[in-house]
Subunit: 107 residues, 2 copies
Amino acid sequence: MNLESVDTEQLSLKKTLDIVCGKWRLYIVYQLGTEARRYGELRRMIPEVSEKVLVQELKSLVELGMVEKTIYGEVPPRVEYSLTRKALEILPTLRKLTAIGEVFLEP
Amino acid sequence: MNLESVDTEQLSLKKTLDIVCGKWRLYIVYQLGTEARRYGELRRMIPEVSEKVLVQELKSLVELGMVEKTIYGEVPPRVEYSLTRKALEILPTLRKLTAIGEVFLEP
DNA sequence: CGCGGTACTTACTTTTTAGTAGGTAGCGCA
DNA sequence: TGCGCTACCTACTAAAAAGTAAGTACCGCG
């Protein structure tokens, strides 16, 4: 094991944590799935999350390269969010993450 | 309104996040691996983490059912930490998590 | 002319997490 | 007698994340 591979592994871990950590982040990704969703649509799908946090999380997901934002110059305004190619690539893995918690759920 | 009361999938997701989230949590689990490690040994393996946070994280991991703490009534004191059966069960999955971040590392 | 719907933004408070810098107690060793 | 080693604990501060509540701007409809 050389220094490069150690460094890459720690970088990958950090990036992984950026993607999965956050009370609502993964849940929003799950809701997006393979569809493009409008902002209001997402809001109604996850009414427990505040608008501030939803907007903030969507912005972070865009910055992380997980989500694409499309603004249609229409009136009334239309904004759609969808998972990027890379996000779709890891979506099956992300969906399997609940298996980790399942092992620890008390019966 | 909380996630806990909804369904098993959301409960599993919450538990998963408890296990993987935290700047040092997964890293400590990786370092433990299949071995039993003494407190001071872990401290030297991860010198970047402060003692306060290391103790705190180990306590959380014990509460989560991820780690077993064994105190040997010796002098000088000896305390060993090791992954539980359940933790060992999910360890391969936890190690594969870096694959998520790898997809997003800029080349 | 106000109402509801579009998609946000802003200011502020609370809660959680992480980091800094010290202290504790028992024992072996020089 | 004081130092280092064991495995912690405590008080405090700083930073990050999450929650609350309100405001913004535009438009069609009645």
